[in-house]
């Protein structure tokens, strides 16, 4: 077990290193001038040159990358555009010349929004996906099954920006059934926090739950004819209980794997949902950074997203091993 965790940690580090290299190479080698943007339209050539120097952009690419990695591990001091030294503690993801704050702080400011949004959406995915999938499987071939399966097909094919705006218009502005979406910190009152995120949770959850529900249904159908389910019924267990205890267990592993991937993706930011509902999360930060050529923030958010995917996939593997004693962690 310790060996497994160690191996996975090493693997994760290797993946993340490769991701930083790729993001770094792609964005820093791009033919644009962050110094010009950071300095602003009123700068003259000399000023831009000074800014470029203070941002370290006149260094060779390999040197910049080495600085970046060093900062990640040990922290470093970075000069702002005007030359003010900024202390960026480890793990230093660089300094955003656009936002004038260390990237980690920029992410930290917005992360509670992403955490709240992703956490709630995941809960909706699990409850709705597993519930609909299992209900459809148990009633296979009936009208219920067709209705639920049709419902998931709608979910899988509809776009968040369409569903989000449509529901917002119908449920919030026209009928007042839902509170206005927005983010209130959890500390300011759980009620307000949940009320503001309710619609985003449902929309993001529903769209992602659709795929999940379809997988849950097919996994369940595949498992419900397994010998051990029949054995359980042969012991005198009711069909429903046998399906909950045995079919559910047998169907769970692929669902856990998919959930791991989805969780990783959601925690990396949900740009479209954030935009539709006006939430300032990590997704919006990342897209803004790309648009504004804020390279340190771009690399930082890419790294964060990759980190979460790697983390949740590893967690999913642990869950699978816990679910099925035949699985050996290797």
């Amino acid at each position: 077990m310790t060996g497994y965790v160690l191996r996975r940690a090493l693997q994760a580090a290797a993946v993340l290193l490769a991701i930083t290299a790729a993001a770094f190479g792609l964005f820093y080698a791009a033919p644009s001038d962050p110094a010009l943007i950071a300095c602003g339209p009123k700068c003259d050539t000399g000023q831009v040159e000074a800014v470029r120097h203070s941002m370290g952009l006149d260094q060779p690419l390999a040197g910049q990358y080495a600085d970046y990695l060093r900062g990640l591990v040990a922290g470093r001091v970075i000069d702002d555009v005007d030359g003010t030294p900024i202390d960026c503690a480890a793990p230093c993801l660089g300094y955003s010349y656009t936002l004038h704050q260390p990237v980690l702080d920029a992410i930290g400011d917005r992360f509670p929004v992403t955490l709240s949004l992703a956490g709630g959406a995941l809960a909706v995915i699990v409850v709705l996906g597993v519930g609909v999938g299992f209900a459809a499987a148990l009633r296979r071939g009936t009208a219920t099954d067709r209705l639920l399966s049709g419902f998931t097909l709608v979910g899988a094919s509809v776009q968040i920006y369409f569903l989000g705006y449509a529901l917002q218009y119908l449920l919030v502005y026209t009928t007042d059934l839902f509170p206005v979406p927005g983010y209130t910190p959890f500390g300011d009152g759980p009620g307000a926090w949940a009320a503001g995120l309710l619609l985003p949770w449902l929309v993001l959850g529903f769209v992602n739950a659709a795929v999940f529900a379809r997988l849950a249904r097919s996994q369940m159908l595949e498992t419900m004819h397994e010998g051990y389910v029949r054995t359980a019924r042969g012991k005198g267990m009711s069909a429903l209980r046998a399906h909950l205890k045995y079919t559910g267990r047998g169907a769970a592993a692929p669902l856990a794997q998919l959930l791991g991937l989805e969780a990783g993706a959601l925690f990396g930011g949900a740009f479209i949902t954030e935009t539709v509902f006006g939430l300032g999360g990590v997704g919006k930060l990342a897209v803004d950074a790309v648009v504004q050529n804020d390279l340190p923030t771009v690399v930082g958010t890419v790294l964060l997203a990759a980190f979460f995917v790697v983390l949740f996939v590893a967690l999913a593997d642990l869950v699978v091993a816990w679910l099925d004693p035949r699985v050996r962690l290797a």
Binding site: G3, L6, R7, L10, G141, E226, G227, Y228, R230, T231, A232, R233, G234, K235, G236, M237, S238, A239, Y246, R249, G250, L323, D324, P325, R326, A330
Partner: protein, 631 residues
């Protein structure tokens, strides 16, 4: 205890309905063991599930009546049937690995079975009961917390039996409880079942395709075919003087120690042919001429009369009456046909009239090997695994084969026998050039072929001479390819015949294996298991190889189909002068089919020699053990 009246089970789906059981009636008394025998598709397992009330009501219609100790199962509300299931009537399923939950320890699964019918019992009490029951079936307490995949096949089946019997049911339904097990383990499980039955007085319905198992364990037996009851009666009577030709064919189809090696085996088709031919249908089994061959064409081997099989006098089954002379146990069943006459009649409809053969004819003489060794392995070692992961310890390699030396002579059939895990299939794969040996030499026709598995050119050249017939005819034919495509593939790879010539050749091959050119454009799913295996054999013959390696070619087939395929292989061997390496766990089949035999255990050859020497005078203790358990 169990009373079945007019049981009819139909499956409905996609607008059509298939009736699997037609109006079956029988009784099972307290403490009795009743064998329910039939081939796959006969509806025997459906009967077991109906008795448990386990059919899916949405897709199955169950009619008639099944009562367990007076309580009706058919049409009863689910809660009432649930109270019976696991408490009054329990079931042991065929494949224990699939039937046990992989997610729970055997102790928990057993305790659950107890608690479901003892609501008042606490966890601790249920575990206590479960431990006692595990102990009773011979699972040590130290392993109670282990999971099913950590046990051997025999132990898993013991766990399954413990689960079924933990609530001391009145009726136990055992559906093929020993089918996937090696002969020795099979015997252990059956005797455990017998012991427990005597202790508890549980009545047992034993569902199986294996007449031998029924003979060893059952008081009475029912024979089912296509959902209908063919015949029923006391086991001893049915084994020796069955009324119905189907019963006789089923009983006679599997070779036993008493069968004369190399003779044709009776098949169900031949039994039917004899049934429609009034002269031959005489249950007395008077010698009869070859059956009309028209519809049997697909089953060319079936041109003999079924009664021949009955001659095998069920002595080995009856365990007690070990009649020396084969025929003596079956007075009046003199329809045996000598091996020679049988071969002559094969394929040719102008067969000579069957000559009445002397009962218990001495074994056909073993052919002397015609030449030097055609294929040979010397001091073969094969190990698997042992890869080192990125971090952590290197896993121990598994030594599947350790120091095996074998040779197959020109025109000879070598039987390679052993239990599962003995390394026999691995050895066969090395000889086929599909696996690289870890060490040792492999030669075919004097040429070193050890590198065939990693050298594509050598492998291609070798495959002109060495072909394979696989165990599972369902898995070894591509379901998306027509028979023609499957059979002509080797010709496409190895010859420059054009499409028309290939098709001609394929048609000829199909006729050679008892099928017809009409079958060329069909897909595997349109054929029965026996026909598919014929297609597999035709494919293997396409390049006119010199050596055929057949890895358990008949073990996935029903006994009557097995008889057809064995008959076919014997005909082809004689016709084409093939050499064969025949891998099997079934000693009776090997004895019937092979000239020489090598017995493998745990990666080594414990004994090898001419057939009669190995079977009549086994030197190794292990061989004797196998013979005692298996035949």
């Amino acid at each position: 205890m169990l009373r079945v009246r007019d049981l009819t089970v139909s499956f409905t789906g996609r607008g059509r309905s298939v009736t699997a059981v037609h109006g079956l009636s029988f009784d099972l008394a307290r403490g009795e063991v009743l064998g329910l025998v039939g081939e796959s598709g006969s509806g025997k397992s459906t009967v077991g599930l109906a008795a448990m009330g386990l059919h899916d009501a949405a897709r199955t219609t169950v009619g008639g009546s099944v009562t367990v100790g007076g309580a009706e199962v058919v049409g009863a509300p689910d809660s009432a049937v649930r109270a019976l299931r696991g408490a009054r009537i329990a079931m042991v399923f065929q494949d224990a690995l699939a039937a046990l939950s992989p997610f729970h320890s055997v102790l928990d699964q057993l305790a659950e079975a107890y608690r479901l019918h003892h609501r008042a019992a606490g966890r601790a009490e249920a575990r206590e009961r479960a431990r006692a029951m595990l102990d009773r079936v011979g699972i040590p307490a130290a392993r109670a917390r282990d999971y099913p995949h950590q046990f051997s096949g025999g132990m898993r089946q013991r766990v399954m039996i413990a689960i079924a019997l933990v609530n001391a049911p009145d009726v136990l339904i055992a559906d093929e409880p020993t089918t996937a097990l090696d002969a020795r383990v099979q015997r252990q499980v059956l005797s455990l079942l017998a012991e427990l039955r005597e202790e508890s007085g549980t009545a047992v319905l034993l569902i199986t395709h294996d007449v031998g198992v029924v003979a060893a364990t059952c008081d009475r037996m029912l024979v089912m075919r296509a959902g209908h009851l063919v015949e029923s009666g006391p086991t001893g009577k049915l084994l020796t003087q069955a009324e119905h030709p189907y019963t006789r064919a089923l009983i006679g189809a599997a070779p036993t120690r008493e069968t004369v090696p190399g003779t044709r085996l009776p098949t169900v088709e031949s039994a039917e042919a004899s049934a429609v031919d009034p002269g031959a249908a005489d249950p007395g089994g008077a010698p009869a001429g070859p059956a009309p061959a028209g519809r049997v064409r697909a089953g060319a081997p079936g041109t003999l009369v079924g009664t021949a099989g009955a001659v095998r006098a069920m002595a080995p089954f009856a365990a007690t009456a070990e009649g020396g002379a084969t025929g003596s146990g079956a007075p009046g069943l003199a329809g045996a046909v000598s091996g020679g006459a049988a071969r002559d009649s094969a394929g040719r409809e102008s067969a000579a009239p069957a000559a009445p053969a002397a009962p218990a004819a001495p074994a056909a003489p073993v052919k002397p090997p015609a030449g030097g060794p055609l294929a040979e392995v010397v001091d073969l070692h094969v190990s698997f695994g042992g890869r080192r992961p990125l971090l952590g310890r290197r896993s121990e390699p598994v030594h599947a084969v350790r120091g095996v030396s074998l040779r197959v002579g020109e025109g000879e059939t070598l039987g390679l026998v052993g239990e599962s895990g003995s390394g026999k299939s691995t050895t066969a794969r090395v000889l086929a050039g599909l696996r690289k040996p870890t060490s040792g030499s492999v030669r075919f026709d004097g040429r070193d072929i050890a590198r065939a598995a990693v050298d594509t050119r050598l492998r291609r050249e070798l495959s002109r001479e060495v072909q394979l017939v696989f165990q599972d005819p369902y898995a070894s034919l591509n379901p998306r390819r027509t028979v023609e495509e499957s059979v002509t593939l080797p010709l496409r790879v190895h010859t420059d015949l054009d499409a028309a010539a290939r098709r001609d050749r394929a048609a000829g091959l199909l006729e050679q294996v008892g099928m017809s050119a009409d079958h060329l454009d069909r897909y595997p799913h349109e054929f029965s298991g026996g026909q598919r295996q014929r297609v597999g054999i035709a494919r293997a013959l396409a390049l006119r190889p010199r050596l055929i390696i057949a890895d358990e070619p008949v073990s996935a087939l029903d006994v009557s189909v097995q008889a057809q395929v064995l008959n076919l292989l014997m005909d082809l061997r004689d016709e084409l002068g093939l050499s064969l390496l025949f891998v099997s766990h079934d000693l009776a089949v090997v004895r019937h089919f092979c000239d020489r035999v090598a017995v493998m255990r745990a990666g080594t050859v414990v004994e090898s020699g001419p057939r009669d020497e190995v079977f009549d005078d086994p030197k190794a203790a292990y061989t004797r053990e196998l013979l005692a358990a298996g035949m």
